[in-house]
Amino acid sequence: MLSAVHLRAVAAALAVSSGAATLAQAPARAARLDTRAMLDAVAALARDAGGLAGFGRDYAVRFDADGITYTPALGRRAPAPQRLAIRLGSLHRGDLALPIATGAEPRLDGRLARYQRSPSITECYEVRADGVEQTFVFTELPGRGDLVVRCQLAGELAGRGAADGDRALHFVAPGLGGVTIGAVTGIDARGATCSGGLRLVDGALELSLPAAFVDRAALPLVLDPLIGTRISVTAGSDDDRELDVAYDRTSDDFLVVWTRALAAGTTELRALEYGRSTGPGAAFLVASGNVIRRPRVASQNAVDRFVVVYESAPTLVGPATVLAQVVNADRTLGPNVAISPAGSYCVEPDVSGNAGSGFADVGGLIVYREQGAGIRLQQYTLNAGSTGTMVLGTRATVSTDPAAQHPRITRSAGNRAVVAFGLPGSVVAQATTIFGSVIGAGLSAPTGGSATPSPAVDGDGTQFLLAFDAELAPGDRDIRCMQLSWTGAGVMLAGYDAVSQRVGIDELQPAVAFLGPKYLVAWTVAAGFMSYEVHAKAMAPSGCNECGTELTLAGSLASEVLPAIASRRSGGAVADDALIAFASHSGQPPFEGNIDAWLFTPFSATLQTTTATGCGNPLSLQAVGQFSIGNAAFSLRLSTTDPNATLGFVSLGLGGPPLVCGSCSLVAPVDLLSGPLPGGVATFPLPVPCLTALLGARLDVQGGMVGSATNLCPLLRTLSTSSAIRLTVVE
């Protein structure tokens, strides 16, 4: 077996040989997702207490017995929602009024909302990403003459209608945007089409098809305008803001949740599945309200559910309450649950899920700040049944200090979690059980400044990594890291270092995820005024050492902020990769926002080349795993079919002249790994330390065995060797 001495010797030698690490050849560890395309394609419709609610990229829509209410998502610069409500008023064929039933509740059919207006007339709305497509389907059409549909209009935009010829009606709030109702088309059963009329008559919307077409149309006949959001050219409206992400092992989906402002004081909390192998999946509405902020989501692996928590308030200043929403495996929603006590003002929630898969692994924790009262902890349990009911358990107090802020909780820690929060000039970590009990002594560590840091924390239940932003001077925050260990009596500081400490540059908003062999830290770096970048770096599982180079994750707009990480491990998978998501914003008011995401894997593929052939009997040397820093599981596997081979070894060299012996050449060893070859196979662990200084370093490895019936090397008469391989240390 490889001794520690061997490891250190090889690593030191590698470090010396590598010089300045270069990643020119390193395979990418992070891959950007096309979130723009994903979000542009979102469309959702589901039933809630008020009827049917749905959304597309730039709008929200609601269907109830009164009809449809369409709200373009104009962003927070819109002082109030600008709505257009459409209610079917009458249907005429020539002078004949067709009997219709109004006041009926719509029926949900996938992304269709259907109103059965009569046995032969169906009013239908398809919720699409770019708008709502309204259709009237007629299976019988008595009478003769033009077919005219008249709808009553209401809402803030109702009085703002303007015709664009016969092609469209625009309902626009000046400077903000609005709604467009597009051209009417008639389509009969044979596929024949005809352009219809579209106009405003006495404030009502009138859609029509000419008699000449209708009289000859094969039934069923469809009348089909499109209602879409018209976005003001002068100011965008992509007002996606705060987000979080989690992973579920069973579905192999990441779930991204984010807030979308329809107007100032009108917000939706939306969600989108992203299948690791299948790509974008279903979108759905998690919640809507006045001001919804700080969504956080965690996975409950055993019951295949997600738990979303968020702040909800009637105004910007509050009073905010913390609410939770269970997302079932089929993406239906469980009952909405109030987490914070009635009458309190609670903000900054965070939630831990449960990566366990056992029958009892259905509990989790929610942490939040109660204004003026400190940090609270709420235990919850999910009902394993189909309804996904959340049952609230113990409520505990983590801190009574009213100055405590920014609580965070671990997502991957199993039965022992850590809550971290900031105080002016210090960061605090406190262990808790999954049952909501605060256990052991907390740890309070000074940050070196007087500001209140924003921490992030994750870990495996025994070891934890806590990152926080420490303000050294105005405009100079650094990302610091503390390794914490559970001692049985509390959390103990086991390591402390900087994740990033650019002088005179603000670095803030850390996020942490435990990946297994590494931690992943992402944070925001000020790159200029109205310009922030999201950076990410892998950290060693202990000691707060960096274990990878720093990545800059590009976004779709000028500024990237608020990174969030979902490790697959936190969702129950035995896997090391993660999704990093963040918000991108434009650089000028109103700072419109998008969501961006990158997939991250902690180890790059092994980079190896064969530098020399072997000699003697067949002997193979294979790299097992990625020769990447921090890969403690990396090994070299030696195998042969020679039954006489008794001892195998691997020569580790640094590129010096090979040793030549007869027709054999052997990597000049700086170290040798050796061992018996039972069954012709031996595996030699070669853990790669978390030393970025190793990156780019080359290690020549060559296997050898003795005992063969060959005699190619006079010095070692039974020697056979494998091909020599040159491994390059990558991330």
């Binding site: 006045n290 009637p314 105004t315 509050g318 309190s344 003026g372 009213p402 109205m530």
Partner: protein, 734 residues
């Protein structure tokens, strides 16, 4: 489900009224400083060589040969009393001729040999006493006969009382009592016949009485229900001496057809008679801080007269500020001058000549060290001819002479539209700006008031939607903020209605810190009809100075009455930070049957938000930013002033302190905050945004960060960012 419920965030103008009426009341702390001042009024004072004694509802003139008692009636009436004789038995002895009356504090004495005739001047009446050091000869009942000459008819006679009166008021003499030197008492009686009043004590008591013996009836004056002393209360405050002067007009003079006195009450200090000439109109009072005195002005005999007064015994002489032209002066207002050195006072008045339209006149005078007033410089500020019609009510910013500028406002018809005109004048009375106008928000303009200083004023209007005259209180009250444009001219903003459609009236304003406090009356429809102007409920509410949005909820503060005065304890240009949130309110209070007045010092709820300027402004922006009324139950208002450009407001609970653009620091996190805009500025170059703060105690302590981004000519933070930044404010909800 109402799908079109308005957003809680955006405050529609119509909602302001609702907010004012429904927001949770944060009642001001009230400490009463004077209770029933007119009812406590009592004074003995010489005026024009006549010794006067005054109580709340009467004035007595003490002549050598008689005492005239004038009740506070709307018509001049007196009841003159001449003591004729005293007797014990059948032979009356004429009372000795008297010397002129002498005052001793609140007692007036006539010496009549062995008998002393005394009058104790009390607030509730005159206590007449005949003090017998020796008794007349004889052994029968002791009687005193008094000749009575009354302009009031005899209304009632009883064994122990007699009353002269009519529907305008009455004088009552009652309660004959005998008290000897040992304190023994006996009830007496009275008789009245042929203008002779006989007071009588029974012989049995008199025979054993220890001398001196006092025969002691009480003379009181009454006024009918609804006739209240102090109907025209005005008040001012002097910061140096920390006292108020309350002045009012009261019937009580003996000359003219509608005799009126101008009375005052120093609190602390007591009563003062300012004028008893008999034709005084409603007075106004302002403080002259430099002289530690008050200047009281009122219309009289076709002109305006005024006098300065520093204490109940330190009065300047009466000064006619205008010639007696025969005009009437139906509206009058006076400012305060809180400068510690300036001795000028400015008055604005409506002059209504006998013929022709009324005009708005500004009068400026000076107060000498001896409290004499200088001749007034007079300026006419209203327009005339053409489309102009006559001037109605007038106003001047009561607090406001900072920087030597006063806002003057008046109501005047223009082109058939009732219009509020505004201009600035100096403390010499000269017009110092362009006169600007604002059409009334209704079809009339029946009240106008103003307060403010230093480029920030609020004008209050009462205007009715219906045709004039509108009965009762259908006139709605409005406030409009007034700023200054770049040329130094006043620029009124849109009026904000502060009462609901049932109306209101008797509006009064007082500046208090960054707010303006309004007192007004609203109909009390529960108890009586809305058309009865006496049947009102008074309210006090505060509003933000810039946008006139409700900051402190309207509250019912007094029952049934009329606010007549509302004054800020700290004065213009001399703002006492300790008093910034205080006002003094005086009101006629009580029910119809028990009218009286109260004066209270109101310490307003001073929770306007803890505002910290975090700096960070850049890019050539010189605008001032304000955060007003950041309190639970209020409407927080973010304001940027004097901007030439397009504004965005970044307001949120997270800060990011973004740097990298010269000296700019953007404090609120623009990515998680509300980003409101583009907001265009008004004519003043001001932009603002409102946020209703729920009345939830848990919000106390919540911090908001707010900062303005402004684009426009010459405004650029740095090459990469075409916006200038205002300073950032940290606002902590209180």
């Amino acid at each position: 489900m109402n799908r079109f419920r308005p957003s809680l965030i955006a405050i529609a103008p119509w909602a302001v009224t609702v907010l004012a009426a429904t927001a949770a009341a944060q009642h001001p702390q009230r400490s009463m400083i004077v209770d029933h001042a007119p009812d406590r009024f009592v004074l003995v004072q010489r005026a024009d060589d006549v010794l006067l004694g005054m109580g709340a509802r009467y004035t007595a003139r003490f002549h050598t040969d008689r005492v005239e008692v004038a009740p506070a009636t709307s018509r001049p009436h007196t009841v003159a009393l001449r003591s004729r004789a005293a007797a014990r038995g059948a032979a009356p002895e004429p009372l000795a001729r008297t010397t002129p009356p002498r005052e001793d504090g609140l007692r007036v004495r006539y010496g009549r040999g062995a008998i002393t005739e005394t009058y104790d001047v009390r607030a509730d009446g005159l206590e007449l006493g005949y003090v017998f050091a020796e008794l007349p000869a004889g052994d029968g009942d002791l009687t005193v006969t008094i000749d009575v000459d009354s302009s009031l008819p005899l209304a009632a006679v009883a064994a122990d009382a007699i009353e002269f009166g009519d529907d305008s008021g009455a004088v009552r003499i009652a309660g004959v009592l005998g008290i000897d030197a040992l304190g023994n008492r006996a009830a007496g009686s009275m008789e009245y016949a042929r203008h002779v009043l006989t007071l009588r004590l029974p012989a049995a008591f008199v025979a054993h009485a220890a001398l001196p013996l006092v025969l002691d009836p009480l003379i009181t004056a009454t006024t009918p229900l609804g006739v209240t002393p102090g109907n025209s209360l005005e008040a001012a405050y002097d910061a140096t001496t920390d006292r108020c002067l309350i002045v009012w007009q009261q019937p009580g003079g003996t000359s003219g057809t509608s005799p009126m006195e101008i009375r005052g009450w120093f609190e602390p200090g007591g009563a003062v008679l300012l004028d008893s000439a008999g034709s005084a109109g409603s007075p106004v009072v302002g403080n002259c801080n430099a002289r530690d005195c008050f200047v009281v002005a009122w219309p009289e005999t076709g002109g305006i007269v005024a006098r300065a007064v520093a204490s109940p015994t330190t009065l300047g002489s009466l000064k006619a500020l205008t010639n007696a032209t025969g005009s009437s002066w139906p509206h009058l207002a006076i400012s305060t001058n809180a400068s510690p050195t300036a001795d000028r006072m400015v008055i604005v008045a409506t002059e209504a000549p006998a013929s022709g339209p009324a005009s708005c006149r500004v009068l400026a005078t000076r107060v000498s060290a001896s409290l004499d007033l200088a001749a007034a410089a007079t300026t006419t500020v209203s327009g005339s001819g053409g489309l102009y019609t006559g001037v109605g009510p007038v106003a001047i910013a009561k607090s406001g002479g900072a920087n030597g500028r006063y806002l003057v406002a008046w109501s005047q018809g223009f082109g058939g539209t009732p219009t509020a005109f505004m201009g600035l004048c100096t403390d010499t009375g000269a017009l110092a700006s362009t006169v600007v106008s604002r059409p009334a928000p209704g079809n009339d303009l029946t009240e106008i008031v103003a307060d403010g200083q230093d480029g920030q004023w609020v004008v209050g209007l009462r205007s009715s939607p219906g045709a004039f005259p509108t009965p009762g209180f259908a006139g709605r009250l409005h406030l409009l903020g007034v700023g200054l444009d770049g040329a130094g001219n006043p620029t009124p903003r849109d009026p904000v209605q502060i009462t609901d459609d049932s109306g209101g009236g008797l509006l009064n304003l007082a500046l208090a810190g960054r707010r303006v406090v309004a007192s007004y009356a609203v109909p009390l429809q529960v108890r009586c009809t809305s058309s009865d102007p006496q049947c009102t409920s008074s309210r006090i509410a505060s509003f933000t100075l810039t946008g006139c949005l409700p900051c402190q909820a309207a509250e019912e503060f007094y029952w049934t009455g009329t606010h007549a005065a509302l004054v800020r304890p700290s004065a213009s240009g001399n703002v006492d930070p300790q008093r910034a949130e205080e006002v003094v309110a005086f009101a006629v209070t009580g029910t119809l049957a028990t009218h009286s007045s109260q004066g209270s010092r109101l310490t307003l709820d001073n929770r306007v938000g803890l505002v910290t300027d975090l700096g960070g402004g850049c890019g050539g922006l010189t605008a001032r930013v304000y955060a007003e009324c950041a309190k639970t139950g209020g409407t927080h208002q973010a304001v940027v002033k004097s901007v030439n450009g397009t504004c965005w407001l970044v307001i949120g609970t997270d800060r990011i302190d973004m740097r990298g653009c010269g000296t700019c620091v953007l404090v609120p996190d623009p990515y998680t905050s509300f980003v409101v805009g583009p907001l265009r500025t008004d004519r003043n170059g001001d932009a603002s945004w409102q946020l209703a703060v729920p009345a939830t105690p848990g919000l106390v302590g919540v911090r908001l960060y707010e900062q303005w981004l402004v684009s426009g000519p010459g405004l650029q933070g740095c090459a990469s960012f075409p916006f200038a930044l205002s300073n950032a404010l940290q606002v902590q909800i209180q």
